[in-house]
């Protein structure tokens, strides 16, 4: 690069001009083509997944698959908090509980149709998120982990002790979901519902990730102080992440209730919260594919090793540690599986060699 004189005084700073005409149509078509191909592949994947209960012909396998889908939905919710905004939340099951119990109570005691219980479930979860988030999010992140852990415990304690929530027995006889003329009663039908929910959550997550909101979250995760220099209101955006998570968590809970007909406190404790955190971190913090994959691993692994009976959790634990040691960025990290990046590194190293 030559000296300063070259720049001249007449450059327009507001919109710098790039003399790069060739980046026009060809590249655009290329990008659109890639997008189309990727869309088709995803659609194919979803269609194949949709036929899974028919292939499997096994209620056991379908119910495992349903559990995976449910954990996928929760993991996508927690991904906003842990993966994008970089906060540790150890009580995410609280929102799952709020959704489940709101739907359970309204449908059993007040005879509301399941779908009608969704808005109040989400609203209560949001109120809970604001209630917990506003005072805590001003604190540094370690406190958030402690407070969310407490929140999770409190919610579980509340549903365990209130009469209206059925105490330790929980709520049973939750009516099925009605969709138009359909009444959903089989595991297979809830598998399809949750497949739809996973697709919806993935679409929403990836749109948000590529928007101003997602960029602000990642900036906060990467460097909170620097994010402020971009004009990002850190505390407000952290609350948004927590609220977004609560929306996904409560919707998942609301649909979980009719799928399992009965709900009880043990499903909503610290173990559940921990499973979601594990799914997100094993899969790859901040990665949508990672959250999906992580949920699959967390549910499927203990099932696969069922023959080890008591020891299977030990085996699972060892496997987790191995994954964390061998691949700390997760199975499917946010910036891809790493093949392209390796290539890029190699290439820029070549350039760097010439440079120095």
């Amino acid at each position: 690069m030559s000296s300063l004189v070259k720049g001249g005084g007449d450059e327009e700073i507001v919109v710098p001009v790039v003399a790069n005409a060739r980046s026009g149509s060809a590249l655009f078509l290329g990008a659109a083509g890639t997008r189309l191909a990727r869309g088709a592949a995803l659609l194919g994947l979803v269609v194949v997944a949709g036929f899974f209960p028919d292939f499997a012909q096994s209620n056991y396998l379908t119910s495992i698959a349903l559990q995976i889908e449910i954990l996928m939905c929760l993991a996508l919710g927690l991904n906003f908090v842990v993966g994008y905004a970089g906060m540790l939340d150890l009580g995410f099951a609280a929102f799952f509980a709020i959704g489940s119990y709101t739907t359970g109570m309204l449908s059993v005691h007040a005879h509301w149709p399941i779908l009608a219980t969704l808005p109040p479930a989400v609203a209560i979860a949001l109120i809970g998120a604001v209630f917990v988030g506003v005072p805590t999010l001003r604190l540094r992140s370690d406190y958030l982990a402690v407070v969310t852990l407490g929140f999770g415990e409190i919610i579980q304690m509340v549903v365990n002790n209130l009469n209206q929530t059925g105490g330790p027995e929980g709520i049973y006889g939750i009516p099925p979901l009605h969709l138009g003329g359909w009444v959903l009663t089989t595991t297979g039908s809830y598998y399809e519902i949750f497949l739809f929910l996973v697709v919806l959550f993935v679409a929403v997550s990836s749109r948000i990730r590529r928007s101003r909101l997602g960029r602000a979250w990642l900036a906060i995760r990467e460097d909170e102080d620097t994010a402020q220099a971009m004009g990002i209101k850190v505390r407000r955006y952290k609350l948004y992440a927590y609220m977004a998570g609560s929306v996904f968590g409560s919707i998942t809970g609301s649909l979980y209730a009719p799928a399992f007909i009965a709900i009880a406190p043990p499903s909503f404790g610290f173990t559940e919260s921990l499973l979601v955190v594990m799914a997100v971190s094993i899969g790859g913090i901040g990665s949508i594919w990672g959250a999906l994959l992580g949920a699959g691993v967390v549910i499927a692994f203990p099932e696969v090793f069922r023959q080890f009976a008591q020891a299977r959790l030990l085996v699972f634990g060892i496997a987790l540690v191995l994954i964390m040691v061998l691949r700390p960025q997760g199975i499917w990290p946010e910036n891809g599986l790493g093949l392209g990046r390796l290539q890029q590194r190699w290439r820029s190293r070549g350039v760097g060699g010439v440079h120095r």
């Binding site: 710098p16 790039v18 790069n20 928007s211 101003r212 960029r215 602000a216 102080d225 971009m230 820029s348």
Partner: protein
């Protein structure tokens, strides 16, 4: 007219006077340099201007408006942007996404636009992405758009930080040692970026140790020494001032 007007700014850390009663007028649309030995309070000065430190005395005005007590995000929203001495890019975001993060306040904030992917929202994002690429080109990083910022060499990260600030269309850009620790080739590129930025009408204030670079670029220079404003004037005046030679230049020039 002054873009930034600093009045008797003081900052104390325990027993240390990082800044004592610094008063300074930084003219609008100029390239202004702040120099001084290590520990003179230069970075603290920037931190006070941008809401990162709360001064213990004095005031800062931007366009006649008192911004002394504003938070960092609010200062940024007024159009005062900065870079950091110890380069702070977002390592796991691509270069392009780093620049887009800088455009936070200009990006579409419509939540439903985002969720539904409305045409207006898509157009806005597309236009912003294209502009981000133009700013990358402006700082000479056109071919690095997709590279993770953490994978870029040091000098490029410094320029990326500048692009990230410029996409906000700031009125004032504060650069904390933009040329420190970079190669001479990189230094020339940075000098060109800084020059073109100022030529485009942005008020640039830079902290710089490289005296030659300062003399080459700046219209006005202020010298800080142990938290005090030692001298202020044109580069020639400052260079000739015996106090400066003693406090700073004398130690650095061969």
């Amino acid at each position: 007219m002054a873009a930034l007007s600093v009045r008797e700014l003081s900052l104390r850390f325990g027993g240390v006077d990082a800044l004592s009663e610094v008063s300074l007028e930084i003219p609008d649309r100029s390239l202004f340099a702040v120099i001084g030995p290590n520990g003179a309070g230069k970075t603290s000065f920037f931190n006070c201007l941008t809401g990162y430190y709360r001064p213990t005395g004095g005031a800062v005005f931007f366009d006649e408006r008192d911004i002394t007590r504003l938070k960092a995000a609010d200062v940024a929203a007024l159009g005062i942007r900065r870079t950091f001495q110890n380069v702070r890019v977002f390592p796991k975001l691509s270069a392009r996404e780093n620049v887009l993060a800088g455009a936070h306040l200009r990006a579409s904030a419509s939540f439903f636009g985002t969720l539904l992917g409305t045409p207006g929202h898509r157009r806005g994002e597309q236009a912003l992405r294209e502009e981000a690429d133009r700013w990358l080109d402006f700082v000479g990083l056109a071919d690095k758009a997709a590279v993770l910022a953490g994978d870029l060499p040091y000098g490029m990260r410094k320029r990326l930080e500048v692009a990230r600030a410029l996409i906000a269309h700031p009125a004032v850009l504060l650069l904390d040692e933009p040329a420190a620790g970079v190669s001479s080739v990189e230094r020339e590129e940075l000098a060109s970026v800084i020059h073109r930025t100022a030529a485009g009408g942005v008020t640039v204030v830079m902290i710089e140790h490289d005296v030659e670079l300062v003399m080459q670029l700046a219209a006005g220079v202020a010298v800080l020494d142990r938290g005090r404003l030692l001298v202020q004037g044109s580069p020639e005046e400052v260079r000739a001032d015996p106090r400066v030679v003693e406090a700073y230049l004398g130690r650095r020039q061969r």
